[in-house]
């Protein structure tokens, strides 16, 4: 077995992200694994192992655009079950935020976020949208207040 290197500075970085600090409460019981659909449907996704890697500071493995963390279904079953209030899904999202800080987000997330920041909506309104809405007797969609959205996230 290869020896694992400890790097506690990674934990300090994670503590600064909202909800990231809850990883410190993990005692590796594995309750999260038992209820995790991603663990059930994949050979390599395991929330307890993600928490262990986090505790040990294995940043290179976790903070990448092809990291295993992106297979999380975001179903919140682990948050529901965890006896330690680790909120594993929120720790995983905090890890994703670190990916964003380091510029290693998967392309889909970048594209999606750009649409949202540019239009205020996460789905692009194509020319057919209002036509379909008219067919259904629904009012046309108006532009949303994207200026305010952009101002508050500057």
């Amino acid at each position: 077995m290869t020896q694992r290197k400890l790097d506690f500075s990674f934990r300090e970085k994670l503590n600064k992200i909202v909800g990231g600090n809850h990883h410190n409460y993990c005692y590796q019981c594995g309750s999260c694994v038992a209820v995790c659909p991603a663990a059930r449907f994949s050979d390599d996704f395991n929330p307890r192992e993600i928490l262990l890697k986090t505790l040990l500071g294995e940043e290179e493995d976790l903070i990448r655009s092809d990291s295993i963390i992106w297979k999380c279904t975001n179903c919140y079953s682990c948050y529901e079950r965890c006896p330690q209030d680790v909120r594993p899904v929120e720790v995983i999202i905090a890890l994703k935020n670190l990916c964003a800080e380091q510029g290693v987000l998967p392309g889909d997330i970048n594209k999606f976020s750009e649409t949202l920041i540019k239009t205020g909506r996460s789905v692009i309104i194509t020319s057919t949208v209002n036509r379909r809405r008219q067919e259904l007797g629904l009012p046309d969609l108006k532009d949303v207040n994207v200026k305010e959205l952009q101002t508050i996230i500057e």
Binding site: V18, N74, Y76, E80, V123, L136, V144, E148
Partner: protein, 303 residues
């Protein structure tokens, strides 16, 4: 006379843009039970609790707080139609109540647009409003074509119930909310082994999401459901389009209509499938209409 309910609908992005039939069904059915929908035109994306939140939790929280503040300013509580919007708005409320430093930090940003999040607004998914504020009795009174004999496979999805510490809606392991509402329509809710499985949409993998969707269908088919009933446009996307993908990639046809709760309510209130937009779904509901004795096509399409 029943108390008039007035709420601000938070349509989100998926429903008005991709699945306006769901919006149509909400507008039509709420009219039947005297729920007034006061549209506010200042809402943006909630923002979504998976992709955008993955990018920056503070930005995610700030945009959510702005949406909440818009409703507070208008003096309206929010009713959501999508589990994702419900999750974002309720989690934002929870986080801002739990951490006053965070709330100050967010309000500093909102100050730039002369807004403040106070924490007074209530947020409910439409099915929760139906249970708690409208009530099963009032729903039953609005029904003139009960869905007798229709066996509905319920799919709760993840974000309505979990985490229960935040959502405060129902028991996350043994929920009864949708069972009771489906029963109020005269239909029969069927439980099945994967009733609480995730639809898979939030998982960024090439195979796993469809495998999860497949398991849910297999589970529902094994107990003999006539259709699937759900409450979230993201789950709908997984299951409606998902059936086409499953037929193509996994060579199995389930052919199960996937129906948003307010569309089921609309059918029970006597609307034709086209009047609640069911003609836009990939799997049609002809068989359901035969079961409830309404198989003839309506004379005219709704404008």
């Amino acid at each position: 006379m029943a108390k008039q309910i007035s709420v601000a609908p938070f349509w989100g992005c998926m429903i008005p843009v991709k699945y306006p039939q769901m919006e149509l069904s909400v507008r039509k059915t709420m009219e039947q039970i005297d729920v007034e929908l006061v549209d506010l035109d200042q809402f943006t994306c909630c923002p979504d609790p998976i992709y955008f939140k993955a990018r920056d939790k503070i930005q995610w929280l700030t945009i959510a707080a702005r949406n909440l503040a818009v409703a507070e300013e208008a003096g309206q509580d929010i009713v959501t139609m999508c589990s994702g919007c419900t999750s974002t708005l309720l989690e934002a409320k929870f986080m801002l109540a739990e951490d006053s430093k965070l709330k100050n930090q967010v309000n500093e940003k909102l100050k730039k647009i002369n807004k403040e999040y106070k924490g007074t607004v209530k947020v409910k998914h439409i099915v929760v409003m139906l249970r708690d504020d409208v009530g099963v009795q009032r729903i039953k009174e609005s029904i003139n074509r009960p869905l007798i004999g229709v066996k509905v496979g319920i799919h709760y999805g993840c974000h309505l119930l979990k985490p229960s510490q935040i959502m405060h809606i129902d028991d996350a392991d043994y929920p009864s909310l949708l069972e009771n509402l489906i029963q109020a329509l005269g239909a029969t809710p069927l439980t099945h082994r994967e009733k609480l499985l995730c639809c898979g949409k939030g998982c960024m993998d090439d195979e796993m999401p469809l495998e999860m969707t497949y398991e849910v269908f297999d589970s529902m088919e094994s107990v003999g459901v006539d259709c699937m009933g759900l409450i979230c446009p993201t789950c709908f996307n997984s299951f409606d389009m998902g059936q086409i993908l499953i037929a193509r990639k996994m060579n199995r046809e389930f052919n199960l209509p996937v129906i948003y709760f307010c569309q089921l309510l609309g059918l029970a209130q006597g609307f034709a499938p086209e009047e609640v937009g069911l003609h836009l779904h990939r799997i049609k509901v002809d068989r359901i209409m035969e079961m409830i004795g309404a198989s003839e096509k309506p004379l005219e399409m709704v404008a």
